[in-house]
Amino acid sequence: MEEAAVIASIKAGNVDAFTEIVENYQIPIVRYLCRLVGDEDIARDLAQDTFIQAFKGILKTSPDLKLRPWLFKIATNNARQYYRRKRIINFIPFGDHRTPDFPSQYRTKDIEENIEVRSALRKVPLNIRTCLVLHFVEGFKYKEMADALGISEDAVRMRVTRGRELFRQAYTGGGQNEM
């Protein structure tokens, strides 16, 4: 079914039609959140919330809704909220000291690189990180990112440039602390 037809069907009361949206977008949304928050379990929880909010919100959307940026917008807000909560909780040192997702005996060169990229990425501030992940991982064009993040295309271009530079600094050595 066409996306617009699926949405129309959901609006007409066919809850099961939403399954198609979840199936089509679960991988990108979970992956996106995982790259933003750095933990698959948390990302899956936030992704569930994202889809449930999307289901509730979809009844109120206009017929020309662009689904992909809209879903990523909800996901981005959830990631932001997660960080806001986490910052408060970390204030009393209670922290999130989860170890990276791979046990050391399984690490290969690729995985090592993957871990380094993730850790460098997490040193980039969240609002810039969202742009890097949307663009380089999820393949969003600037226009689509502007829609998803509610900012101008100029701002997107600026953040991607800044992101490239910050990421590079963090990847080649140090950078600031993870936020």
Binding site: A12, G13, V15, D16, F18, T19, V22, E23, Q26, I27, V30, R31, C34, R35, E40, A43, R44, A47, Q48, F51, I52, F55, Y82, R84, R85, K86, R87, I88, I89, F91, I92, F94, D110, E113, N114, V117, R118, L121, L132, V133, H135, F136, V137, K141, Y142, R157, M158, V160, T161, R164, F167, R168, Y171
Partner: protein, 304 residues
């Protein structure tokens, strides 16, 4: 072109996000400038490096768990519910039309009747409710513990707030306001013979009036709304979890919990669900002072 000023254009060039014209200018500049060519290589490397994160995460069981959470709260009803409304508003048959008109006419009659009766009935109900809230209030019970309440006069009701005078058998009158919805009683005036919350008077009929004012809801009110606490907790909402008056009636200890979704990150040590114990000097009822505040172990976290 000045190299430093065109970094954003260069980055957009690497992403294939420039207009044809801009691209031509950029290519021309790149032909002449080794620095920018190097930077372009770096920019492209970043795309490749971050690109390794495109691997798919595990999503087993994800769809089912989302769909069951969507369906769990309540089964869908839009269709049948909306259908009934439409069938009612746009009847297709003679019988349907009859049902619609009779129902509408009856509704109009009933609404008119109720509109006349309702305020009166509502007032009566609120008077009874306010009286029963006062009777059940521990503060009032403590205040009148050795006296009998002879009469509760509801003098005014506005919205959910009632004003009442409570007469004791011994002749004491206490004025209170009652939050009917919140089921709370706030003492507005107490007799001048009780400035320090402690007084024992023998009356002619041999009864003792008021020995001691215990758990005081007005202190709670001051706590949660008053300026003293507001300064400390800023925008945080408080929930009083327990309160206790010392035996001599001079010190009142309250435990509160901060609750708020609206978290301000810069705000001091306040976290959601922190427990605070506040000790107040209530010797002078009109001038309550904070003696001591201790914080704040986390009793629960919002994100375990």
């Amino acid at each position: 072109m000045r190299c430093n000023e065109i970094r954003e254009l260069l980055s957009a060039y690497a992403d294939n996000e420039l207009s044809t014209e801009q691209r031509k200018l950029m290519e021309q500049h790149l032909g002449e400038c080794a620095d920018c060519r190097n930077r372009l290589t770096e920019y492209r490397q970043v795309s490749q490096q971050i690109g390794v994160l495109q691997t798919a995460p595990s999503i087993s069981g994800f769809t089912q768990s989302v769909m069951s959470r969507i369906k769990e709260p309540r089964p869908k009803r839009y269709k049948s519910w909306a259908g009934t409304v439409v069938a009612f508003l746009r009847p297709q048959t003679k019988m349907g039309r009859l049902i619609t008109y009779v129902t509408l006419a009856l509704t109009v009659i009933l609404v008119t009747l109720f509109a006349g009766i309702l305020p009166y009935a509502n007032h009566r109900a609120n008077v009874a409710l306010a009286q029963s809230i006062i009777k059940g209030d521990p503060t009032i019970a403590a205040l009148f513990q050795d006296d009998d309440i002879s009469k509760i006069n509801i003098t005014n009701i506005e919205g959910d707030i009632a004003t009442a005078e409570i007469d004791g058998a011994s002749g004491v009158t206490v004025t209170v306001t009652v939050d009917i919805k919140g089921e709370k009683v706030y003492i507005t005036t107490i007799p001048s013979s009780l400035p320090n919350l402690v007084d024992i008077t023998d009356t002619d009929n041999g009864k003792k009036i008021i020995t001691f004012l215990k758990a005081n809801s007005r202190v709670d009110e001051i706590l949660s709304q008053g300026a003293i606490i507001a300064g400390i907790f800023q925008s945080y909402h408080l929930e009083v979890t327990s309160s206790n008056m010392s035996n001599d009636g001079k010190t009142y200890t309250v435990t509160v919990k901060t609750i708020s979704d609206n978290i301000q990150t810069q705000a001091m040590l306040v976290t959601p669900s922190t427990k605070w114990t506040i000790t107040l000097d209530v010797t002078d009822y009109n001038n309550i002072k904070i003696v001591n505040i201790t914080s704040g172990s986390v009793v629960e976290s919002t994100n375990p």
